[in-house]
Symmetry: C2
C-alpha cells in the first residue's frame, strides 16, 4: 500500500531527525514568553532565530515583521509553477510563562527527552508544531525531486498568540497583499489521541464582556434598608442566573439567530470517537457533566454556543458576615459562538438583554472585550480532504474529525485573507499546554513532518479554489 514517495519521505525524515530535534531544542531554549515584558528581548531573539532557520531550510524570502507589540516571522518559498496554489501556514513562536518551581520535573527552558517525549515549554504549543514544517518541506522536495515546493508556501509565525494576539488582525490587514493565499494551514491544535488521529474542522468564536452594576452610592445597612431597595449583588446574580433556561439553553433573545445547525453526519462522526466521559471529566477536573439538554458532551463543547460566568463579584468577601446591601457588583461573562453567529449581533443582543433585565435603581455599564469569530470548514472542502489524505498516509489509519471548543486567531485569517482555514496539529491532550511538564510525543511530531511532506503535492494536484 505504501508508495515509493512515502518510503522516500520516511527515509529522509529518519536520516534527518536527530539534526531536526537538535535544532528544535535550540529554539526551545529561548524563553520567548510574550506575557512577560522582561522577556521581550527573548521573543525578538526567537523571531530572529526562526527567520535564520527558515533561510537555512531554503526559504528564499524570510522577514521579521515588527508589530505594535512583539515581532512575527514571515517566510515565502514560491513554487515557480504559475498554476500552483498558495498555502499560508500559521503558528506562533511565543510561549506561555513557565518556571521550574511551578512543579516541572526538568527546567522548562532546557529541553529534555524522556521515554520518547521531548519536555520543554513550547514543545507542543507551538514551536514543535511550527518546526515540523521545516523538515516537512525538505522531505517533500527530497521525495519528489523538486527544488521548489509544489505549492507557493508562505509561513506566518506570530509572536503574541499567548498574549491574546492583540496586534495580529492589524498585521493581517497591513500585510494582506503579501499574505494572499488559497488556503490557510493552522498548526496550533491537537488531535484526539495518539491512537485516534483526527483533524479539527473548526473553532468556536468568542465574545466576552464585563458588566458593572451600581446600586446604592455606598454600602448600606441591610437591616435598615434591606428588602426595600435593589441590591446590585442580587441583580448581578439574577442576570447571571437568567443567562440559561431550565434546559440550560442560553435564554438571551436572538442569541441563536443564524447558527449553522450541526448536521446528522457531523453528529455521527463525533459519535464515532472513542469518548470516555469519566476520562474527560478527569481532564475537566469536574465530577459531573451539565449542559444544554439534547446534546452530548462533545457537541456541547465543540458545536454549541455557550454563555459562561467567568467571574462574579459584589459585596463583602472577608471572614465572617457583614450585613450590608453592597453598592456595586461586577459580572464577567463569555459567550462561545459557532458558525453562523455574528459577533456584532451577539454583542448587541447581550447589551439589549442586560438593559431590559435590570430593574430601576440599578445603573449599569457593559464593556465588550475584542470578539473572535467562529470558523468551520465544511467536511467536503477539497483542502480539508487533502489534509485528511496526507495525514492518513502518515498515520496509516483512518483520520476522524474533531472541532475545537476554544477560540483563536484562525477566524481572523479566514476573514481578512478570505481563505478557508484547515487545522493540522499533532498534539495530544496530555501534552500539558499552558501547564507544567509540557511535552511533545516525538513519534507524533515526526508524523507531522511526514504529513506536510505529502500535503503540498496533494494540494497542488487537488488545488483548493
Amino acid at each position: 500500500m505504501t508508495s515509493t514517495t512515502d518510503n522516500a519521505v520516511r527515509a529522509y525524515i529518519e536520516a534527518h531527525r536527530e539534526a531536526f530535534l537538535a535544532d528544535l531544542a535550540a529554539w526551545l531554549r529561548i524563553p520567548s514568553v510574550s506575557a512577560d515584558p522582561a522577556r521581550a528581548g527573548d521573543v525578538a531573539r526567537s523571531a530572529e532565530w526562526l527567520a535564520a532557520q527558515l533561510s537555512a531550510t531554503g526559504f528564499p524570502v524570510t522577514e521579521v515583521w515588527p508589530t505594535a507589540g512583539l515581532p512575527a516571522v514571515y517566510a515565502e518559498w514560491p513554487s515557480g509553477d504559475p498554476d500552483a496554489p498558495t498555502v499560508l501556514v500559521y503558528g506562533h513562536h511565543d510561549v506561555q510563562p513557565a518556571a521550574r518551581e511551578d512543579g516541572w520535573d526538568s527546567d522548562p527552558f532546557e529541553p529534555e527527552t524522556r521515554d520518547g517525549r521531548l519536555y520543554a515549554r513550547g514543545a507542543a504549543d507551538d514551536k514543535g508544531q511550527v518546526f515540523f514544517h521545516t523538515l516537512g518541506v525538505r522531505a517533500h522536495l527530497a521525495a519528489t525531486g523538486r527544488t521548489t515546493p509544489a505549492v507557493n508556501l508562505k509561513l506566518l509565525i506570530e509572536g503574541e498568540e499567548e498574549s491574546g494576539s492583540p496586534n495580529f488582525a492589524a498585521l493581517l490587514r497591513d500585510r494582506a497583499d503579501r499574505l494572499a493565499c488559497d488556503a490557510v494551514i493552522v498548526s496550533d491544535t491537537g488531535m484526539w489521541s495518539a491512537e485516534t488521529p483526527t483533524v479539527c474542522t473548526g473553532m468556536r468564536g468568542l465574545a466576552d464582556c464585563q458588566i458593572d452594576l451600581y446600586g446604592p452610592a455606598q454600602d448600606i445597612h441591610s437591616g435598615s434598608f434591606g428588602g426595600a431597595v435593589p441590591n446590585p449583588a442580587t441583580e448581578a446574580a439574577r442576570l447571571a442566573a437568567a443567562l440559561h433556561d431550565r434546559d440550560r439553553r442560553v435564554a438571551i433573545p436572538g442569541f441563536y439567530d443564524g447558527i449553522t445547525p450541526l448536521t446528522d453526519d457531523e453528529r455521527a462522526l463525533f459519535a464515532e470517537l472513542p469518548f470516555d466521559e469519566d476520562a474527560w471529566l478527569r481532564t475537566a477536573k469536574s465530577s459531573a457533566t451539565l449542559g444544554e439538554t439534547g446534546y452530548s458532551t462533545l457537541e456541547r463543547v465543540w458545536a454549541r454556543p455557550t454563555a459562561e460566568v467567568n467571574g462574579i463579584h459584589g459585596g463583602y468577601g472577608g471572614p465572617g458576615g457583614k450585613t450590608v446591601v453592597p453598592s456595586t457588583a461586577q459580572l464577567k461573562l463569555s459567550f462561545r459562538l459557532v458558525a453562523g453567529q455574528d459577533t456584532d449581533k451577539v454583542q448587541q443582543a447581550v447589551a439589549d438583554w442586560v438593559a431590559a433585565t435590570l430593574p430601576a435603581g440599578i445603573r449599569h455599564e457593559i464593556t465588550f472585550w475584542g470578539a473572535t469569530r467562529p470558523c468551520l470548514t465544511p467536511l467536503d472542502h477539497p483542502a480539508l480532504q487533502a489534509v485528511v489524505r496526507a495525514m492518513g498516509r502518515a498515520f496509516q489509519q483512518p483520520i476522524r474529525f474533531t472541532r475545537e471548543g476554544g477560540s483563536g486567531p484562525a477566524a481572523d485569517l479566514q476573514d481578512v485573507l478570505g481563505a478557508p482555514v484547515l487545522f493540522l496539529g499533532i498534539s495530544v491532550p496530555s501534552d500539558g499546554w499552558h501547564s507544567v511538564n509540557e511535552k511533545v510525543e516525538l513519534d507524533l511530531l515526526l508524523k507531522g513532518v511526514e504529513t506536510t511532506a505529502y500535503l503540498w503535492a496533494d494540494l497542488a494536484d487537488n488545488r483548493p479554489r
Copy 2:
C-alpha cells in the same frame, strides 16, 4: 395640662443640665472602641468611669462585670417597696471606631457643642442615651420626694455591642438571677424625627450564613470545557437569584412559616407617619425602591422578613477578561426575621433549600454565623403604654410607633430574662451613628432625661405583669 410633678422634673433638669452635660463630655473623651484591641484599656476605663458615676448618682450597688471579652457595668437601686416592679435598663458603653481624618469637623473624642448639638463619637450611640438615665432617676426622686426609685432599678451597660456582643448572651445566662426583672428598657434606638417622637416596638431578627461552592478542582478553560460542566459561579448566581420569586417574596420553602402577620392596626399606624420616600431614598443612597409586592417601604424594612445577598464572589475579578470556568464561588446571605419566625427552623430551611437546589457536580458547605431572634412588643402591653405616656408628657405631643429593621441583643434580653423589651431612645436619623460627625440633639437628650423621670413612677403605678 402640666402637673406639678412635671414642673418639678423640668426645674430639676434645668438646674442640673450643665453638670450633666459636663459629666457626659468627660465620658465621651474616653475612646472606648471595642473593635480595636489597642483600645481595650480605654473600654475598661470607660466601665470604671461609669460605675463610679452611677455610684455618685446614688446607686447603692455598682459593679464592673468581666466577660470573656470586654467588661460590662451593672448597677442596682432597690425601691424598698416589696410590690415595686423591677426594671432593667440596657445600653452599651463601647463605641464605633472614629478618627478625625475620616472627615469629622472636630475631634471625635473631644466633645464640642455647636448649634444645640453635642458632637462626639458615642454622643447618640450609646453613651448619651445611657447617661440620660442618671439625671432621669435623680429628677424622679427630686420631683416625687422619694429617696429610692419607685421601681427596683437595674442597669446593664454592655462593653461589646459595637463588636457584635459576642459574650453578651453568656453574660445574661451567667447573671440571670441578678438580672431578673419585669421589663427591660433598651435605650439604644432612635425616633422617627425631632418633630415626630416615636417609640419602637420591635426589631427584626437575623440569620446569616456563608455558602461555599466547589466545582472543578481548579479553574478550567471555558473554551475546552464551558457549557458541559457545572460552573460554581453560575450556580452561586442561580442560588442567589432563586432566593426571591417574581414578586420578590422569599422563595425558600418554609421561610414564612409561623410569622405573626402585620395587623391592620399596625399598618394604619405606620401609614400615619410622615414618610417621605424621596428623603428615605436619599438616606438609603438609592435611586429607586424595590421589594416584596403588596407592602410599603416601611412595612418591608420593619415588619417583613427578607433575604439579602451581602456578598457574592467567584472567578476572575481583575482587569479585562479571563475565559475560565472558575473552581469555587462564595455567597454571603443574611435573612432578617420577624416575630413568629424561629431562627433554628429558618437555618434548617435555608440549608435544605441550598442542598436541594444545587446540581450534581457542585459540592457545597454552608456555615451559619450566630442568629439573633426577632422581638416585638404588642401595642397594648402595659409597659409599652407606660413608656408612651412618659414620652408624651416629656414631648407634649402624641407618640407614634415605629419598628427597627435591624437586629440587636434585645432578643437575648427577652429570651434569657423572660421579660418584655421596651425601646426608649431619643436619637434621630441625622445623628450619624457609625458615621462621621456623630452628635446628639441636646433638647432631645433632655427629653430622654425627662421621660425616664416620669417613667419609673408610672411603671410602679401600672406595673407590668
